[in-house]
Amino acid sequence: MRIPCPNCGSRSLAEFSYGGAALDRPPGDIGPSPETAPAWDDFVYRRDNPAGPLRELWFHAAGCRAWFVATRDTRSLEFIAEVTP
C-alpha cells in the first residue's frame, strides 16, 4: 500500500504511522461539564466506522515527520482526495 505524503509524494505504508480518524478535538475549555461530555465521548470512543470515505491522520515517521489528513475509501483502501498538510 502506498500513501500520498503532501511533502514527499507517494511512499510505502511502512514509512507511516496511523493517527485514526481526523476528528476535530473538542475545544479545551477548563472544567469538565455535563454539557461538553457527550462531545468528548464522541471524540474518544464513539467513532464512526464508515464503509466508504474516511478522513484520517497519517504521520510520515520515516520521512518528513509531517502529520497530514488524507481521505481513504475503506472499501477499496484507495486514497481518493487531495491530502492537506
Binding site: 500500500m1 502506498r2 505504508l13 504511522s17 493517527g19 478535538r25 473538542p26 479545551g28 475549555d29 477548563i30 469538565p32 461538553t36 461530555a37 468528548w40 471524540f43 474518544v44 470512543y45 491522520l57 504521520f59 515517521a61 515527520r65 509531517a66 502529520w67 475509501d73 472499501r75 477499496s76 483502501l77 484507495e78 486514497f79 481518493i80
Partner: protein, 975 residues
C-alpha cells in the same frame, strides 16, 4: 503400471537422463520432465493416499490445480513438504516421497478408514471429537497423524533467500498468448513503459494454446519466440520465468516467488504496479461420476499436455468423458500420440457436425447424450460403465484411462484478491471476472484477459491481450449459447474435492443440515480448503451445493479465495532477514565495554542492554543482589543511553508541554528539571520522563526507552494538529547523546573527584537541578535526577565522548567502591521505590490515580486526556490501584504474573482482584517484594491476599503494603 514414454516427441532432452528416487525406488527421467511427468512415464500410477479415507490416488492435473500428488521433496534440513509433483522440476538426485500414507502408498494401514466412510460424514470432526473437552489435544494429535499434512524439517533451513522490491507501470501475470500480447502492445505503445511479465513455467507461452495453433499467421511456438525476443530487446521490460504471483494486496502490491538456481533458492518480489493485466489462463473442470478418484482418472487437458510436452502417456486406452469441445481436441491429439480412444462420451445431446465427422474419420465411437456412471478397477481404472442420460441400457468399456473435460474455469483468484467480483456466465457455465468491479475506483483496477477472462479462442485471446496492453477497456465476452453443463454425479462415491475427500453426498448432507451459504458449506465440509485451494473443486462444489438447494449456481455465489494462491515457503517470506538481520539492533556507545565485561545482554525494544554483569562463581540472582545492594551502600554506574531524548526549542515550548503532561511546566525555571506524566486522550498513562529547562527557550526531554518514537510522534501531533501555530521545533536526539547514571550515597563524592568545572554540592546542584560544563576535557550535561531512590546524577555527553566518560568514571570510582549495574538491578531499585514503568504497571489500562499520581494532575489547564478522567468508571473506588506486596512467609518468593485472589477457599471460578506487575528480591529488605494492581488496593493496605499462579501452581499468601518500600520520605535522594 500403464503409463509409458513415447519414443519420440515432447520437449524433453532424451540425451540427458536424470536419476531420481520416489518412495525409495530408483527411476529415470529426462531433462525437461517434472516429477509428475517422469512418474507417469515410469508407469507409477498410485502417488498418494487420500486425506480422509486413504484411498489410492493418481495424478489428475498438470499444474497448480493438482489435488492428489502431494509430495515431500528432499531430505534432512532441505525436506520440503506439500509440494505438488506437477510443479517439481526433475533434477538429478531428486528424492521425493508420498505424503499421506503409512507404511507405503501401495499398502496403507489407514485405508481401513475407507471402510468406516459411512461413519465419517461431513462435519465429522465437529460431531465426534468434542467430548470430553479435555481430550481434544489427544484427538488432535491422532487426526493430524492420520491426515498426513507433511513434515516440516526439524533443522534450520540451510538455503539462502532473496527479497526484491520493484515498482512498475504494468505487471503482466501469465506469459501465455494473451499475456505476451498485452506486454508487446504496451511496449509498442510506449517503449518507456516499465513492464514486468511473470510466468510460472520455465518457458513462456503458457499451457492453454496448443503448439499447433496459428497466431497472426504463424505457428504458435514461433510467435512466442518472436514475442519473447522482442520484449527482451526493450530495456524497460523484465521477463521473469519460473515465478508465481501468490497474492494481491492493498494498493496493487503483488507478491511473487521466483524459483532460482544457484546460491539463492527462491527470490520474493514485492511489486507495486500501476496497472495489472491478469493472464493466468483457465483451469479445466472435472466431470463427476462414481469412483472418479480412481488412479487413471485424469483431466483431458492434463493427459494431452503430458503427451505433447513430455511424451509421457498416462495410459494405453482411454475413454474421454467431455462436455466441452476442447475434450475432443485432447482425444484427437492423444490418438495421434499413440493412445487408443475407446469412446468419447458427451452428455450434450447436440454435438457439432465437424466434431462428429472427425470422430467418424478417426474411427472413434462417439456417444452423445451419454454419461459415465462409474469407473471400475481395484487399484486403478480398468473400465467404466456408460449410460444414456435419458436412462437405458448401460455399456461397459475396457480402458486404463478415463479423461474428463468439463469446460474451463478462469483462474481468477488474484482478481478476487484485488477485490474484484466474479459473475456467473451462463454461456460459459463459469465464474468470470466482472470487468465492472472497478467502477468508481480512483486507480486502474486489474484487467483480466484471455482465458482468465473467459476468452478461449486464439483470436479473442490475442485481441483482449492487446487491448489491455494499450490500456483500452476490456473487450466484452461473446457467445450466448449455453455449453459445458456441469454433470453432478453418478453411482457410488463421487468426489468433488479430491484433496479433502469431499463427496457430492457430503455437500448434500451439509445442505440438509441447514448450511446454505457456500462459505458455510465450505467450512463445514472442508470443500476447497486444501493446499490446492479448491482450484479444481471450487466451481463444481458451488454447482453441487446449489443443485441441492434447487438453485442455479449464479444464485449461490462463490466462496472467496484469499492469498496465498499457492503455498509459499517461510524462507521466501523471510528473505535474507533472518538471524542477526531479522530486526535492527541498536547499541549504545558503551556496548563493546559491556560485552567485554561479562554483561548478559538483552533486547529492550530495539536496543541491546546489559541486564547484569556476571562474575565468576556467581549466579544471576546473586549478581543482581550484589549490584543493587552496592548502589544502596556505595555507588553504582549504569548505561542509560537508550532513554528517549528530545530537544525542544522556541518560545512556545511551555505551552506544548503543558498540553502534553498532566502537570504544569510553564513555572519551571531555567536550570531546573521536572518529572512529568503523559496520558492518552482516553486518560490512560502513556509515558513518563523528565524535562529540563536549559534556557528560557531551550528544553531537554527524556522519555522511557521503548516509547521514544511514539512520544516524538505524539508531540509532533500536538504541534501540528491539536495546537496549530505553536512556535516550537522538536528534534529527536536519542542517538546524539550518550548517557550514564551515577547513583548511590557516594555518588556526589565520586562526581566531585572527577573534578568538574562546576559545583556539585547540594546547594549548587540540588535534587532536580541541572549543571552544564566540562568533566575533564569532555563537555557534559548533568541532571540530578534519580530512578533508584538514591542520590544520583545522570551524565549526558556527546555520543562519541560517552565511552571515554564511562571509563573516566570507572577509573575514578575504584576508591569509592563503584560497580557497574545492569537493567535487572535498576529494576530492583525502582521496585523498592515503587516507581511505575510503562508496560508493567502503566499497561494502557491505568489512570494517574491508579498509580497514586492524583496530586500531580493539574486542575488549572487543559491537557491530553484530562476530560476523560471524569468518567464515572474512572473514579470508582474499586479500580485496580498500585500497591506493594510482601510474602507473609518472608522466605517465600512471589510468583511472577500471579493473579491476586482473596483466599483459596471456595470452588472455582475465583474472583480475580488484581495481578502482580513486577517482582524482585529486595536486598534492602532481605525478602521478595512485588508491585501489584489490586482492586481497591489502597483501602486494603495491611490485609492479606493470595498471589496465585496457575502456570506454576504456586499460591503465596501476601500482605498489601504501600508501594514505596525504601526511604518513603525521599531523604536519600534529596540529601
Amino acid at each position: 503400471m500403464t503409463g509409458w514414454r513415447a519414443p519420440t516427441g515432447g520437449r524433453i532432452d532424451r540425451s540427458r537422463t536424470i536419476d531420481f528416487r520416489f518412495n525409495g525406488r530408483a527411476y529415470t527421467g529426462h531433462d525437461g520432465d517434472t516429477l509428475a511427468s517422469a512418474l507417469l512415464a515410469n508407469g507409477v500410477d498410485i502417488v498418494a493416499r487420500s486425506f480422509k479415507y486413504h484411498r489410492p490416488r493418481g495424478i489428475v492435473a498438470f499444474g497448480a490445480d493438482e489435488p492428489n500428488a502431494l509430495v515431500e521433496v528432499g531430505e534432512g534440513s532441505r525436506r520440503t513438504p506439500n509440494l505438488k509433483a506437477t510443479q517439481v522440476r526433475l533434477v538429478p538426485g531428486l528424492v521425493a516421497r508420498s505424503q499421506n500414507c503409512w507404511p507405503s502408498v501401495n499398502f496403507d494401514i489407514m485405508a481401513i478408514t475407507g471402510l468406516l466412510a459411512p461413519f465419517m460424514p461431513s462435519g465429522f470432526y465437529y460431531k465426534t471429537f468434542k467430548w470430553p473437552v479435555s481430550a481434544w489435544p489427544f484427538y488432535e494429535r491422532l487426526i493430524r497423524n492420520a491426515a498426513g499434512m507433511g513434515r516440516a524439517p526439524a533443522a534450520a533451513d540451510p538455503d539462502a533467500y532473496d527479497s526484491v522490491h520493484r515498482s512498475v507501470d504494468l505487471l503482466v501475470i501469465g506469459g501465455g498468448l494473451a499475456g505476451l500480447a498485452a506486454a508487446r502492445a504496451a511496449a509498442q505503445a510506449d517503449a518507456g513503459t516499465r513492464i514486468l511479465v511473470v510466468d510460472e513455467l520455465a518457458e513462456f507461452g503458457g499451457l492453454g494454446t496448443a503448439d499447433t495453433a496459428v497466431v497472426d499467421g504463424r505457428d504458435y511456438r514461433d510467435w512466442v519466440a518472436d514475442a519473447v525476443a522482442a520484449l527482451s530487446a526493450v530495456p524497460n521490460v523484465t521477463l521473469l520465468p519460473r515465478t508465481t504471483a501468490y497474492g494481491h494486496y492493498d494498493g496493487n502490491l503483488v507478491g511473487l516467488v521466483e524459483e532460482c538456481d544457484g546460491p539463492v533458492r527462491q527470490r520474493r518480489w514485492l511489486v507495486h504496479a500501476d496497472r495489472i493485466v491478469l493472464a493466468t489462463g483457465a483451469t479445466e473442470r472435472p466431470l463427476l461420476f462414481g469412483g472418479n478418484d480412481r488412479p487413471g482418472v485424469m483431466l483431458a487437458s492434463a493427459a494431452r499436455l503430458y503427451a505433447t510436452r513430455h511424451a509421457a502417456m498416462a495410459g494405453r486406452r482411454a475413454v474421454v468423458f467431455t462436455s466441452d469441445d476442447s475434450g475432443y481436441e485432447a482425444a484427437f491429439d492423444l490418438r495421434q500420440a499413440g493412445v487408443a480412444i475407446a469412446a468419447i462420451v458427451d452428455p450434450r445431446a447436440e454435438v457439432g457436425e465437424a466434431l462428429k465427422g472427425r470422430c467418424a474419420a478417426a474411427g472413434i465411437t462417439l456417444l452423445a447424450a451419454h454419461r459415465i456412471e462409474s469407473s471400475h478397477g481395484r487399484r486403478r481404472v480398468s473400465g467404466c460403465t456408460v449410460r444414456p442420460i435419458a436412462g437405458g441400457q448401460p455399456r461397459r468399456f475396457t480402458c486404463d484411462l478415463i479423461l474428463t473435460a468439463g469446460g474451463w474455469t478462469p483462474a481468477a483468484q488474484l482478481f478476487t484478491h484485488a477485490g474484484g467480483r466474479l459473475r456467473h456466465d451462463p454461456a460459459l457455465a463459469a465464474l468470470v471476472p466482472d470487468a465492472t468491479s472497478w467502477a468508481g475506483r480512483a486507480s486502474t483496477g486489474m484487467i483480466a484477459v484471455g482465458a482468465a477472462a473467459g476468452v478461449y479462442d486464439v483470436a479473442g485471446c490475442l485481441a483482449s491481450g492487446q487491448a489491455a496492453g494499450r490500456g483500452e477497456p476490456p473487450l466484452g465476452i461473446g457467445g450466448s449459447e449455453a455449453r459445458s453443463p456441469i454433470v453432478l454425479g453418478g453411482t457410488g462415491k463421487c468426489f468433488v474435492d479430491l484433496q479433502n475427500d469431499v463427496t457430492v453426498a457430503d455437500i448434500a448432507l451439509a445442505v440438509r443440515e441447514g448450511y446454505r451459504s457456500i462459505e458455510h458449506v465450505k467450512r463445514y465440509t472442508t470443500l476447497g480448503m486444501g493446499t490446492d485451494q479448491g482450484k479444481l473443486a471450487g466451481l463444481t462444489g458451488v454447482a453441487v451445493a446449489a443443485a441441492a438447494q434447487g438453485l442455479a449456481p449464479a444464485d449461490l455465489g462463490n466462496s472467496r479465495p484469499r492469498p496465498p494462491l499457492s503455498p509459499v515457503t517461510f524462507g521466501a517470506l523471510a528473505g535474507p532477514f533472518v538471524g542477526p538481520l531479522s530486526s535492527p539492533a541498536r547499541t549504545t556507545p558503551m556496548h563493546g565495554w559491556h560485552e567485554a565485561h561479562g554483561a548478559l545482554m538483552a533486547n529492550v525494544g530495539s536496543w541491546r542492554r546489559p541486564q547484569l554483569y556476571r562474575r565468576e562463581a556467581e549466579g544471576d540472582l546473586e549478581a543482581v543482589i550484589r549490584e543493587a545492594g552496592n548502589v544502596r551502600r556505595a555507588v553504582g554506574l549504569t548505561d542509560v543511553s537508550t532513554l528517549g531524548k528530545i530537544d525542544l526549542q522556541g518560545p512556545d515550548v511551555a505551552r506544548l508541554l503543558d498540553h502534553a503532561y498532566i502537570n504544569g511546566f510553564a513555572s519551571l525555571a531555567p536550570g531546573r528539571c521536572r518529572y512529568g506524566v503523559m496520558l492518552r486522550e482516553d486518560g490512560m498513562v502513556l509515558d513518563d520522563g523528565t524535562v529540563t529547562r536549559l534556557t528560557a527557550e531551550r528544553w531537554f526531554m527524556t522519555t522511557t526507552t521503548g516509547n521514544a518514537e511514539r512520544i516524538h510522534a505524539h508531540l509532533e501531533r500536538i504541534r501540528q494538529i491539536d495546537l496549530r501555530g505553536l512556535d516550537v521545533t522538536i528534534t529527536p536526539v536519542t542517538e546524539q547523546w550518550g548517557a550514564m547514571a551515577v547513583a548511590g550515597p557516594r555518588a556526589r563524592d565520586l562526581l566531585a573527584a572527577l573534578r568538574p568545572d562546576f559545583a556539585v554540592d547540594n546547594e549548587a546542584l540540588p535534587f532536580m537541578a541541572l549543571a552544564e560544563g566540562r568533566i575533564g576535557d569532555i563537555a557534559a550535561r548533568v541532571l540530578r535526577v534519580s530512578f533508584s531512590g538514591e542520590r544520583a546524577y545522570e551524565i549526558y555527553t556527546a555520543a562519541g565522548d560517552a565511552l571515554a566518560m564511562w571509563n573516566t568514571i570507572l577509573a575514578a570510582g575504584t576508591s569509592f567502591g563503584l560497580m557497574p549495574y545492569g537493567t535487572e538491578a535498576m529494576m530492583t531499585l525502582r521496585i523498592e521505590k515503587g516507581l511505575f514503568v510503562p508496560g508493567f504497571e502503566a499497561d494502557g489500562r491505568t489512570l494517574p490515580d491508579d498509580l497514586g499520581l492524583a496530586r500531580m494532575v493539574s486542575t488549572k489547564k487543559e491537557f491530553v486526556g484530562r476530560r476523560s478522567l471524569r468518567r464515572p468508571a474512572f473514579v470508582a473506588p474499586d479500580r485496580k490501584q498500585l500497591v506493594g506486596l510482601m510474602a507473609v512467609d518472608r522466605t517465600q518468593a512471589i510468583p511472577r504474573g500471579a493473579q491476586i485472589v482473596r483466599d483459596l477457599g471456595g470452588a472455582p471460578p475465583v474472583a480475580m482482584e488484581g495481578h502482580v506487575t513486577s517482582v524482585t528480591y529486595s536486598p534492602e529488605l532481605g525478602r521478595w517484594i512485588a508491585l501489584a494492581l489490586v482492586a481497591g488496593g489502597r483501602a486494603a493496605l495491611g490485609e492479606t491476599r493470595v498471589a496465585a499462579s496457575p502456570l506454576t501452581g504456586e499460591t503465596v499468601p501476601v500482605t498489601l503494603c504501600p508501594p514505596v518500600f525504601v526511604d518513603p520520605e525521599g531523604e536519600r535522594l534529596r540529601g
